[in-house]
Amino acid sequence: MLNRTRVQSGEPPKALVGWQGVAADLSSDQRAFKNVSWGKAMMWIFLLSDTFIFSCFLIAYMTVRMSTTVPWPNPSEVFALTIGGVHLPLILIAIMTFVLISSSGTMAMAVNFGYRRERVKTAALLMLTAILGAAFVGMQAFEWTKLIHEGVRPWSNPWGAHQFGSAFFMITGFHGTHVTFGVIFLLITARKVWRGEFDREARGFFTTRKGNYESVEIMGLYWHFVDLVWVFIFAFFYLW
């Protein structure tokens, strides 16, 4: 407590620079991250945790891809479609990726309109995002069905290493589950926005907390994260 005497003598504390400044800001009064609400902080930390989950999945996939002695099937052939007589490698995945990335765009617009409290536009954009998300899941279901018809199973497949099917179903399944949950929550949020629950701060059914437009942004954080993860899955699973 030696410094107290110094401070009480009237000399103002010096602003700290560099790392010390960062540490001082983070450890400052009441909140480490100023202007970050509880919900947003929670979502960021949850996403960090989720990042570890997806990283583990992807690293595990890469490990088994190296450990197996059987050749790995060629993804651009496996995921090729013949449309109108033209053989197009990875076409479905390309469309799915496009749809999902576009949904990030509509989500960002929804967040923007949410902060302007434009109820109708926000709800419509959320709906659009949900529809794009659902389309993604639908295409994924199509892809799963196609592969299953071709004989791909989690434990084996006609073209090579068993781990191909295992990793494929596990990783896309886990990601697809994330998208599905996202779609459900998008619909719920869209409904709330539409009914004006955020305008009149209606209380949540379970949490009894007052609603507000920030939920749209938190929803958006999750949605962008799910899209980002897809980019990695796309790169590491389909392109490699």
Binding site: M1, Q30, C56, H162
Partner: protein, 591 residues
């Protein structure tokens, strides 16, 4: 300690965090059963964890009976022994210690110590407990399914964990994995709460560098758990698929009973990496809260500020960060590139530096303190001694050349029981003796407490100290009986019998504790608001036990760190955190 009083310049800061919108329960059920109050959730977590702890204790007795008096208990055959080892280990580490420190102490202490009314998301907090309970029920269910619980060892290494030679291969392993998955989901809900509450919901004046070290310990541990459990989750999901769907993530090509299995091409080592990426941080997930708690107990009961507070905080953070880059020291015998062995040995030994700093600081805090040998203090001192003991053997095992011969011997069992079994349990007992008066308004009985302390402390050494010696002689770990091992002298058996008797005595002595907890709740000496004359915020609540919302009308305002003990010139030998800085001596109205 650079502690700038906030009100010196420009008065009190305005509240940045609006007062929470508390949920007010209306019925008995929403108040005490499906409660959203962190304090009730804390007690639910603690009670459940302690019940599981008792069960795990009984399992350890059964193992010890078999080891001490082989072939007397016919019902403990090799299968049962493996199942007991596995369930004992997994229960103690995950379902007892993690749940008790984070779910129990975290829930009770974080809001009170940082001056919040509750956790930030009470509803998710409630779900966290019920998922934990579900995980526990599923785990216990595995005792009743055909084939019994899994006997794969708490590390659950594949391929053996899911091959037919291992007990519980049919149901036990699946229930174990499912239970772990649910535990992790439940923990995530709680863990997000603990972390966000500390980061974003502190009282006015409560800067991070004024928080008690208990909060720092629990906070860092929760954050680590959020990053470490994902690896276990992924490992559990993939093993479940290997078992249920016949995928080969972890399964190499295998011949079982002369039959070539359909598995092939997987990587068993991958599971070990995933498991220990979780498993090693897990050690610190139970150690860091204990570190924090012990720092506070020592400071309060030695009437001195903690020595080197800042260093203590940085040491906690450094240990937390480093513990993510040491995991493969559990895998030396699995074989690895020598450069990796070198890297992991080095990083393991580096962790000893911040840990040693903490120990020196505890000792320096005690140095010339006005030590009150209360029960919490006794347990805190016992923790330090035990942790040093376990930590030193950890340095042995961290070195590849020393670890390889000692690995899978009783030496390892002695090491990890000292460091993550006995030491955290001592910290938990100390914490319970310390905070019980806040939770119930009554003191725990002193005499019973002292009996409990001495039997537990000395007894733990009588149980685990000889195991070092057994291990050095080569007695293997996870063996149901020693059989024909010519290199182990006959006297080892005598020692084993001795250990068993001690284990029975120490285990039974815990009944004294549980009796004390129940008896004192009704008949204990009334404690008043602040029996230990502690400065930290949880002792300054307007009511004891603190009611829903903790602080009554006004949220507290914090003016100083949590360690103003024996301040020269102050009126009493402690200054509560919420007492304004003033030149006048503390008077009663400040309290």
């Amino acid at each position: 300690m650079v502690d700038v009083p906030l009100d010196t310049f420009g008065g009190l800061p305005p509240p940045e965090v609006p007062d929470v919108d508390l949920y007010h329960p209306k019925s008995w059920v929403t108040k005490y059963v499906f409660s959203q109050d962190a304090k009730v959730i804390a007690i639910q977590y603690s009670a459940t964890a302690m019940s599981i702890g008792l069960l795990a204790l009984v399992l350890s007795w059964l193992m010890r009976l078999q080891l001490g008096f082989p072939s007397i208990f016919s019902f403990i055959d090799a299968t049962a022994y493996y199942q007991f080892v596995t369930m004992h280990g997994m229960m103690m580490v995950v379902y007892v210690l993690t749940a008790l420190f984070l779910g129990g102490f975290g829930n009770y202490l974080i809001p009170l110590m940082v001056g919040a009314r509750d956790m930030v998301f009470p509803y998710a907090n409630m779900l966290s407990y019920w998922l934990y309970l579900l995980a526990v029920v599923i785990l216990l269910a595995s005792f009743f399914v055909p084939g019994g619980p899994t006997g794969a060892g708490w590390t659950l290494y594949p391929p053996q964990a899911i091959l037919s030679g291992t007990p519980g291969r049919d149901w036990g392993i699946m229930l174990m994995l499912i239970s772990l998955i649910i535990f992790i989901i439940g923990f995530t809900m709680g863990g997000l709460n603990y972390v966000v509450t500390v980061l974003q919901a502190r009282a006015r004046g409560m800067t991070l560098m004024r928080m008690p070290l208990t909060v720092w310990g629990i906070f860092t541990a929760s954050f680590m758990a959020l990053l470490a459990f994902p690896a276990l989750l992924v490992g559990a999901v993939m093993m479940l698929f290997d078992r249920l769907l016949g995928t080969s993530f972890f399964m190499p090509s295998l011949v079982e009973m002369g039959e070539h299995l359909s598995y092939g091409g997987g990587s068993p080592i991958l599971f070990q990496h995933l498991f220990w990426f979780f498993g090693h941080p897990e050690v610190y997930i139970v150690a860091l809260p204990a570190f924090g708690i012990v720092s506070d107990l020592i400071s309060v009961h030695a009437r001195k500020n903690i020595f080197g507070y800042r260093m203590m905080v940085w040491a906690i953070l450094a240990i937390g960060a480093l513990s993510f880059v040491v995991w493969a020291h559990h895998m030396y015998v699995s074989g690895m590139n020598p450069y990796f062995g070198f890297f992991f040995a080095t990083s393991t030994l580096i962790i000893a530096v911040p840990t040693a700093i903490k120990i020196y600081n505890w000792v320096l805090t005690l140095w010339r303190g006005n030590i009150r040998l209360t029960l919490p203090m006794l347990f805190a001192l016992a923790f330090i001694v035990t942790f040093i003991n376990g930590g030193l053997t950890g340095l042995f095992l961290g070195n590849v050349v020393v670890d390889v011969p000692l690995s899978d011997t009783m030496f390892v069992v002695a090491h990890f029981h000292m460091v993550m079994g006995v030491a955290p349990v001592l910290a938990i007992f100390g914490a319970i003796y310390h905070w019980y008066p806040k939770v119930t308004g009554r003191m725990l009985d002193e005499t019973l407490g002292r009996i409990h302390f001495w039997i537990t402390f000395l007894g733990a050494y009588l149980i685990f100290f000889p195991m070092h010696y057994l291990g050095l002689m080569g007695v293997p770990r996870r063996y149901h009986e020693m059989g024909e091992m010519a290199f182990v002298p006959q006297s080892a058996q005598t020692l084993n019998a001795f250990i068993t008797v001690m284990a029975l005595i120490v285990g039974t002595a815990q009944m004294v504790f549980f009796f004390n907890v129940v008896w004192s709740y009704f008949k204990g000496k009334p404690a008043g608001h602040n029996p230990w004359e502690a400065a930290s915020l949880e002792w300054q609540t307007p009511e004891t036990p603190p009611p829903h919302g903790n602080w009554g009308r006004e949220l507290p305002v914090v003016y100083r760190w949590a360690y103003d003990y024996s301040v020269p010139g102050a009126a009493s030998d402690f200054v509560p955190q919420n007492q304004p800085v003033a030149s006048r001596p503390a008077s009663d109205e400040d309290r």
